[in-house]
Symmetry: C2
Subunit: 326 residues, 2 copies
């Protein structure tokens, strides 16, 4: 087992990322505060470079490589947000990036990856083995940048947690709970290390789509369990087969729990984010707010931070989801 | 002529508003910075209480009244954003508010005003005289809260300018230009007083919809001229007949100019705000970005602050505009 990343690794990542990332603010809405009967602070990583938190981990990973490794270029597979994070990081370092993306990935994501100069290799998310798809480039010596199960990736995502705790402190509050979307668990793992370091009593919650609640079920069983195959979801950013080995080893110790939310609740949360915060959040990025709306996480008289992890959604998809979910 | 509001009045307003308003952050997008070849900072008043900057002026005006005046309640007419600002302020003071709103005002705006406890009086924006519509309540002694041509309103809106100059300074920059939407000119007037006080060389630009560019034409003629009747626009928040007497007296001295933008450019700017910033901005709120995209305001190598003044747009209208404008 690789050593788990610690708070020092997250501070190192923050130093590497300084000046390159957007320090996304904490936002709040008087109307939403009233509705939840508490203080709800939103951390909009939608405003991050490339439109999601993924740049943080990808850049930190690539920055951690030796010069020789980095010069050979990088390989990744991703539905889109990690892909954009890797492509943007590779462009900043001036190195080659080859990225395998599902054929059904949102156009906005594929287009952005190509514009940043990466080579996109399409694959079938249901039929193809993604490691086989990228094998050729790995054999050439290019370095894999994994989407979540890697200490440098987790440490990079953890900088979201460092920032939000510091920003909450500047507002004079200690969050009672922090909730964020969870796919493979890299964001949850990184944030939970930073949050627990700053305040051991703050609850850290994950939120997942129905049928993709592998972390929720793994926490219940005390071991990693996979999702049943054959399901699909609008939350393309956070559809993973099972928790990562490293991420679960962290999250089993730190998470208060995980909340599974329906697609209907996700679409409603997208409308809530639009009406209450005027923020465009992609389906997979808004599940934390959907979890709050479900009532599974107490808000009355409490301060809760909700991480909105990404906003990369096609115009047509967004238009359909906000118009439908009435 | 009423005395023009000055920087001291804006500082007074800021003290009254402290703790009640959201101090909206300055946001930026690496992708948009690259596109404009400079640094573009966005001030999203979309995140303000009631979803637009209008709360600032309305609250400052009502707070400036004597206790006896205020107790009689307030009256306003507005397409929606000023209405919400007045309704929210009246609710905070626990006083009655009667608000005349056009029958074609966006549903989101009318609904919000009603939910905040104000009485809504519908009127026809093309046929009815708005002062006649509200005459009855004024005769009962209720106080009119004008939408823009009032020193306390202008001073309240000016707090946007105070904040953005302070926030830019904290980032280590002095803006070369500031651009904001302009209807009656209250936001432009207030902001320009604050901006010029902090930096006399910073250009202040207004942006207006085509056919409603009364401030642009008034600046050109050196006197207040009205818009031709018979036109309509998607920019419901900033459709005024002509500049205010007080606001124009300020703006003729402070503005570098005003840029008129087409509806097509407005819809494209809404998409740019969604794709680049993940912000939902209403048509009338995004004209400053549309003006920048038109090339009329230099951005190359410069720092420009764009005020996004509101985000109160119906789901259906927003869905249509982002899906259409390709």
């Amino acid at each position: 087992m690789t050593d788990l990343p610690d708070i020092a690794a997250i501070h190192d990542a923050a130093r590497r990322l300084a000046g390159l990332i957007v320090e996304t603010p904490l936002l709040e809405s008087p109307a939403l505060n009233e509705r939840f009967g508490g203080r709800v602070l939103f951390k909009p990583e939608t405003l991050q470079r490339t439109g999601s938190f993924k740049f943080r981990g990808a850049y930190n990973k690539i920055a951690s490589l030796s010069d020789a490794e980095r010069a050979r270029g990088v390989v990744a597979f991703s539905s889109g947000n990690h892909a954009q994070g890797v492509a943007a990081s590779a462009a900043l370092f001036g190195i080659r990036a080859v990225i395998a993306m599902p054929v059904d990935a949102p156009e906005a994501k594929v287009g952005n990856v190509r514009r940043m100069g990466a080579e996109v290799i399409p694959f079938d998310r249901f039929r193809d083995d993604r490691m086989t798809v990228v094998r050729r480039w790995l054999d050439e010596g290019m370095v894999l940048v994994p989407p979540f199960d890697d200490p440098a990736i987790i440490a990079g995502q953890g900088t979201v947690g460092l920032e939000l705790m510091r920003q909450a402190k500047a507002l004079g509050v200690t969050p009672d709970a922090v909730v964020m979307p969870c796919g493979g668990g890299g964001l949850a793992g990184g944030i939970s290390i930073a949050v627990k370091d700053a305040s051991a009593s703050t609850e850290v919650w994950a939120a997942e789509p129905e049928h993709f609640d592998d972390t929720r079920r793994s926490l219940a069983e005390g071991r990693r369990v996979a999702n049943d195959p054959g399901h699909d979801s609008i939350c393309d950013a956070i559809l993973t087969a099972e928790p990562g080995a490293i991420t679960f080893e962290i999250n089993r110790r730190t998470l208060a729990g995980s909340v599974a939310v329906s697609e209907k609740a996700v679409a409603a949360a997208m409308r809530d984010a639009m009406a209450g915060l005027k923020l465009v959040v992609e389906p997979g990025g808004v599940v934390g707010l959907a979890a709050l709306a479900s009532g599974a996480i107490a808000t009355e008289g409490r301060c809760v931070v909700v991480v909105l992890s990404g906003g990369n959604v096609d115009f047509a998809t967004y238009a359909r989801l906000i118009a439908e979910a009435a």
